[in-house]
Symmetry: C2
Subunit: 481 residues, 2 copies
């Protein structure tokens, strides 16, 4: 390896020696100043060409996007805007870039346009910053759990089970769709399929995670999950990454503490390790918001928003309390909500979550003890309360601008209660024997949650469309690259 | 959180105080000694019950697999086999386990049997150790790359592209198989499918990884990949995890250095952080090998084997040199190979790789410069040699007992050479425009490789069937749990 990464050179404290850099031209000014980037930093290094002694034919090839090898002396810069620069002694074009055709011109491109050329958008400063922050958050997740002795589990992607007992799933098959095998009575013969049964892409690793937690104690998953839902919004993807810890002997309080600790840890880690990237993203967001009416702009800038989350306890509120607040709220009284809240049991819509988080509490909120009816079968059932309400030990963590960031619960550890709830919602016990075995043999209180990774990245980067925080988004009618 | 993890108590240096543990009964001897495990360690803690003052009804419920809460004083043990124990003051059954029905009796079970109950096998010492080592290796991979400033990329799982230009793929669809939409001329109308096109599960994130590397510099993936191949062997899975780094400005030598460094780093990390687990697995393997004829037993025990890999350079050998060695080898001369090597160009079979690694060099081998004909289209083409041989800058890393652990190459950065190779192997350029753009705009030398994570875990744990190192294996006719 003969070259040095630009990030290191930008932080250099010694000068004069000869260095080699390899990277891509961002801009070339006055036939003299090349801004070179190699991806290691959002900042470029300036290389100064002795244009009088460089052949014209070579100078013409220094175009935006071209790959260069530059050998020269690292010096303290005289110019504004940079501390160091390279006085070029030798310049080689590694790969040309036709300025007429190169889609990334040195100007501002819209995020929509860049989405169309997602294979090239990594080359922009914005996406360099976004994917550096995404990387930092992913590492922070692993480090957080590793420091706490959790075991990282790879739960299966291809599965015969539907963890949520709901949710539209993608089918996985190796059958020839032009010649689907049939049984004698005309049904599709899945015995002929690769796995000898009908299989889908997982919607959650939770149930398998529980199996591992009830043996290893504390585990987490971090892997892709899938929803075949036709929702074209700025917050949904058909393929997204999820983090799902499951902990034996954790009750709901422990679960909330862990989730809050995790979120604060990873946000702090990103702030600590990506200060330049987050500063850039803060400015980008301020620029973007200039186009909005003042009332729609965020009250806090990106860094202040992240710092605020770190420095404040999340508000822990029961569903019943939340319904009371919403009932009495202005937008409910003035019928400004699209879905008015008039009785206990209503499922909360995005507008209600946003009211609670952004208007009422003005910070992240952990909503607990939801009605059993609107939550999954595996959640621990509370005793019926004085008003006859059946609730479960669910917890959803709601974040400003994002909505649901985390969904979790204490799990129902009582076999009989679990079976009766499964019967109510028509989940056949015989297909879930393996799951039920955890309640048959040494059952114990346990809890877990799921954190949508892209929503976390969205929050920390201040980007506004989830398609812009995953390298190659999969959404309805879109699986390019 | 009122309880303390058993791992901490086993390392205690202060005694006398009261502690609470929660865990599962491994064994219960003499109505007095409970071995309790909570998953935090492969070792149990002994809890001593005052059986004379404990109701019989409660003692009867202390069965293998039952979940307990035990409160008692931590004391230095008088007995053999443990340093600390708990003198029980209070014992609560959290969850019973019917001794008659519990599948995991306190005896040795075969790995085959445990595979059938993969949802419970985490509770055995062997699988506790295996999944702790797997966890350590996964974290080490992230730490290695994070320390080197590589960016972790989540390349897409659902894809329209086939990276290898080969390999049988699983189809992903949301079409109703009982009512497949057709176009006017009778073809399947994939416009009606979720993504508006035919999609599959990825076989590799490499091509997308290259896009990112040619902007961010150094990236890696670590995610699930899939093969719909009907191979029922001890080394193949239909769903497995792969690590795929891609580096701009790396040539083949740099690529080899990185791969060797990575493998040594993660093996050392596992040895350093999982000494008890690896010691246990070493002993397990020695026990298993007692059933084999002496000639088939490994020459080195597990720890010595791992240490040997750390302390020796991998042998770097060209394909041409390897063919010469194989031609002149005893098993070739004596016609003991199933596939005899008689001319340059032959694809190497497992028997040949094993001969090179296990008999000839007796250490990991990096084979480079393979015939272009037997390698993928995207590998950098060498100049035709004096014998008229066309080779590519491929590298396969072969490990004893495993075979191919890593497959990689320097990538072909020259657009024209890449296009002509694609034409030769019938890969339509128009479907790969996004990939070709990296060679159109600022192309540069770059390299990468893929490391099969389960093969790594297999090597480090000394397990012999790949189904035993992934939580829930997916193989032909098997997608249980």
């Amino acid at each position: 390896m003969e070259h040095t990464r630009i990030k290191e050179l930008l932080n250099a404290t010694e000068f004069g020696h000869e260095v080699i850099v390899k990277g891509w031209v961002k801009t070339f000014r006055n036939n003299q100043f090349i801004a070179i980037n190699d991806g290691s930093s959002i900042h470029n290094i300036q290389a100064v060409v002795d244009f009088e002694n460089t052949p014209d034919a070579l100078l013409k090839r220094i175009t935006t996007g071209a790959a260069l090898r530059v050998k020269g002396n690292l010096i303290e810069s005289q110019g504004k805007g940079q501390k160091v620069e390279i006085k070029v002694n030798e310049l080689t074009i590694l790969g040309d870039s036709d300025a007429e055709k190169y889609p990334l011109q040195p100007k501002k491109h819209s995020l929509e346009f860049l989405r169309e050329i997602a294979h090239l958008r990594f080359r922009t400063t914005t996406f360099n910053a976004v994917f550096k922050v995404r990387n930092a958050l992913a590492f922070a997740v692993h480090k957080f759990f590793n420091d706490k002795d959790f075991v990282y589990m790879h739960t299966p992607i291809i599965t015969g089970s539907d963890a949520e007992g709901a949710g539209e799933m993608f089918r996985v098959t190796s059958l020839d769709l032009n010649n689907i095998p049939r049984t004698e009575n005309g049904d599709i013969d899945f015995k002929e399929d690769f796995f000898g049964k009908s299989t889908n892409l997982t919607v959650s690793g939770q149930l398998e995670g529980e199996l591992a937690a009830m043996a290893l104690g504390n585990i987490y998953t971090f892997g892709p999950t899938f929803r075949a839902e036709n929702s074209n919004t700025t917050r949904h993807l058909a393929e997204f990454w999820m983090i799902e810890p499951e902990m034996a002997f954790y009750e709901l309080e422990d679960n909330m503490d862990l989730a809050e600790d995790l979120l604060k840890y990873v946000i702090k880690y990103a702030l600590d390790t990506c200060p330049e990237e987050i500063e850039f993203l803060k400015t980008r967001l301020l620029e973007e918001e200039k186009n909005k009416p003042a009332a729609e702009r965020a009250e806090l800038n990106l860094i202040d928003k992240l710092t605020f989350v770190l420095n404040n306890d999340f508000e822990r509120v029961t569903y019943t309390e939340a319904i009371d607040i919403l009932k009495r709220s202005k937008p409910n009284q003035k019928k400004q909500f699209k879905y008015l809240i008039d009785e206990w049991g209503a499922d909360l819509q995005s507008e209600h979550e946003r009211y609670l988080v952004e208007k009422h509490y003005k910070k992240p909120v952990i909503l607990i003890d939801y009605p059993a009816e609107i939550k999954s079968f595996y959640m621990k059932q509370n005793d019926v309360d004085a008003n006859g309400h059946k609730t479960v030990r669910a917890m959803d963590i709601l974040f400003p601008g994002i909505g649901e960031m985390v969904g979790g619960s204490q799990r129902e550890e009582n076999l009989d209660k679990l079976l009766s709830r499964m019967a109510e919602v028509n989940i056949p016990a015989e297909e879930m024997e393996w799951f039920l075995d955890t309640r048959r043999y040494g059952s114990a209180p346990h809890s877990g949650f799921g954190l949508g990774f892209e929503r976390l990245v969205l929050f920390v980067t201040g980007m506004t469309n989830i398609r812009d925080v995953i390298p190659f988004p999969r959404t309805p009618n879109n699986a390019e690259f």
